[in-house]
Symmetry: C2
């Protein structure tokens, strides 16, 4: 075994190859600028020494850090796992790495994690939703780092966004219920505080149902976090009303909640969809496969993640921090087995 150098940096490699550090740097970053012969010597020197270039040092030169910050509310419940995966896949293909952070639906700590990512000199930032503190938006603008909100689309967003129109999603779900002929509908949603996705969906649902003259009684509605078990609990209460007092359909804020609703019904022996229709929003992995398969409005998570990654990479490589774009991806009603016309009696 040759003696191990205590540190193997670019000058060590250079000495090994009998060239200057500058040439090594060029051989790595602009191979066409160095002669084939030396390039080869350098390559073997790199391999022999086990050299790994130091991106921190690169980044100091105003070169890119090669990282992109991704901030999601939470990784629990798998809601955002799919979009994270797609985003990661896309930017990895372009040589970037994800710097991940979560804030637990707290706008204040979102600001803090943004700062943390900026300390690492991320080349770009993606956030979830359109609801952010003034400080957060401000600091991103001031640092001039390309940023993008995902998941939600809004025509008048002050910052670039790629996502679905959650209002439309709520509308679609509600219309489906209305068209089927339901007149007694319950709404089960998460808290809308700091969650614009949920708020838009809920507003849309209320409005659509109201315009159709559909009854919404308070005792048919519930609020629950994104959790199958919590949703199951609250829906069990709703469905425990005597048959004639029950809603014939439950419109849920997302698929997790809808799954809880279906399980609650199954548990109580309320047949789905004969006695109760359930519709979700999201179309998470698993919703199509459950039994009965969940009717829901598809939010194209993968496509959102991929598109967001692509646009952010483009903004970075074009060196255009002021880019602004708003891309709206279509939502789609997935009619499956948990909805039907209300029983006539």
């Amino acid at each position: 075994m040759r003696k191990q150098p205590d540190k193997v940096d670019i000058v060590y490699v250079a000495r090994l190859a009998g060239v200057s550090p500058a040439t090594v740097s060029r051989a790595i970053n602009h191979p066409d600028l160095v002669s084939p012969a030396t390039r080869k010597r350098i390559d073997t020197a790199i391999r022999k020494s086990g050299y790994i270039r130091n991106r921190a040092a690169q980044a100091m030169h105003g070169k890119r850090s090669g990282t992109i910050g991704l901030i999601v509310p939470t990784m629990n419940y798998a809601i955002f796992a799919e979009v994270v995966q797609a985003f990661n896949d896309e930017i990895s293909n372009h040589g970037f790495t994800v710097l991940l952070a979560t804030h637990g639906y707290d706008l204040g700590s979102e600001y803090l994690v943004i700062r943390k990512l900026l300390e690492h000199r991320v080349d770009g930032v993606a956030l979830v939703g359109l609801n952010h503190s003034q400080d957060s938006i401000g600091i991103l603008g001031k640092q001039r780092v390309p940023s993008l909100t995902i998941w939600n689309y809004s025509a008048d967003s002050p910052i670039s966004c790629i996502g679905a129109d959650n209002f439309e999603a709520g509308q679609l779900a509600a219309q489906h219920i209305v068209v089927l002929g339901h007149r007694r509908v319950g709404l089960v949603f998460p808290p809308t505080e700091g969650n614009d996705r949920a708020r838009d969906r809920l507003n849309a649902a209320r409005q659509t149902l109201f315009e159709a003259g559909v009854t919404i009684r308070d005792e048919w509605c519930g609020e629950t976090p994104y959790s199958v078990s919590q949703s199951k609990k609250i829906c069990t209460e709703i469905l425990s009303l005597p048959r004639s007092e029950r809603p014939t359909a439950l419109l849920c804020g997302n698929d997790i909640i809808a799954q809880g609703a279906v399980y609650a019904a199954l548990r109580l022996g309320v047949s789905v969809p004969q006695e109760l229709s359930v519709v979700g929003i999201g179309d998470f992995a698993g919703s199509a496969d459950m039994e009965p398969a969940l009717t829901t409005v598809r939010i194209p998570a993968r496509r959102i993640g991929t598109a967001a990654g692509r646009r952010l990479v483009k903004a970075i490589t074009d060196a255009d921090p002021d880019f602004i774009l708003r891309e709206r991806l279509d939502v789609e009603l997935m009619m499956r087995a948990t909805t039907a016309q209300p029983r006539q009696d």
Copy 2:
């Protein structure tokens, strides 16, 4: 509005506060070394200028980068979402940030992402499973970065590990089936190539069942990736056998597969657990809440993620790259509603 400086770095802040850059640095990193008066001046200068310190520059000084690499096979299917979340929470509390990477169950690309993380000079690395290429282990050792494998425990692992004993998990699941009195058992597992978790579970199950004299017919067994729909498909085939030719129990490689099995049975009108028992491994979010609730072996994902984060941070702050520890977290059988004694006929 005051004129915006084109770049606000530590020397800009220093000038603003009327001190030297060195003092600013100290005010940030060793506040006790600078007098209260100047500290205050510097603080306001920092706030006024909107200074954000550059960790890339810090990292160049041999200081830590403040990032920890986390490499998971995939973020799909939410399998690893929980452990990622717990890990992230833990290290965030200590000022570190997660640098995330995935390799899609491919050992070769795992090596590549390890290299990529090392270029970013991560202060530590966590990987999933014990199955890694020689190159991967080698480069981590050579770079002397604290590393840790999670999810899997093995007494003779060459590298530190924190996790559950997957062999034990398989045993527990199989024993449960045996004790209930099943004699006709099918196994539905993912491909074991490059997935030591699955391999250990499968080996344990086979061995335990064999020792109990339980029949395993090839036509009762299936291989499927981690996907509810794929699992549902293959289980539908198995369960379509005439009643007398069917297994009375299905032991599944993880909860995703088990969910598919349950849905397949529901679909075909095979009642669970009366006609068919199903047991999973993992206890993912949702398994407890589905209807019927899934009997499974709990792998404590949250605790694994938290423990891994804690130990890695400790190894980093103690500057002990050669630390080696093996921590085994207990698995536990969660008896719920998908298993019962086989029907006597």
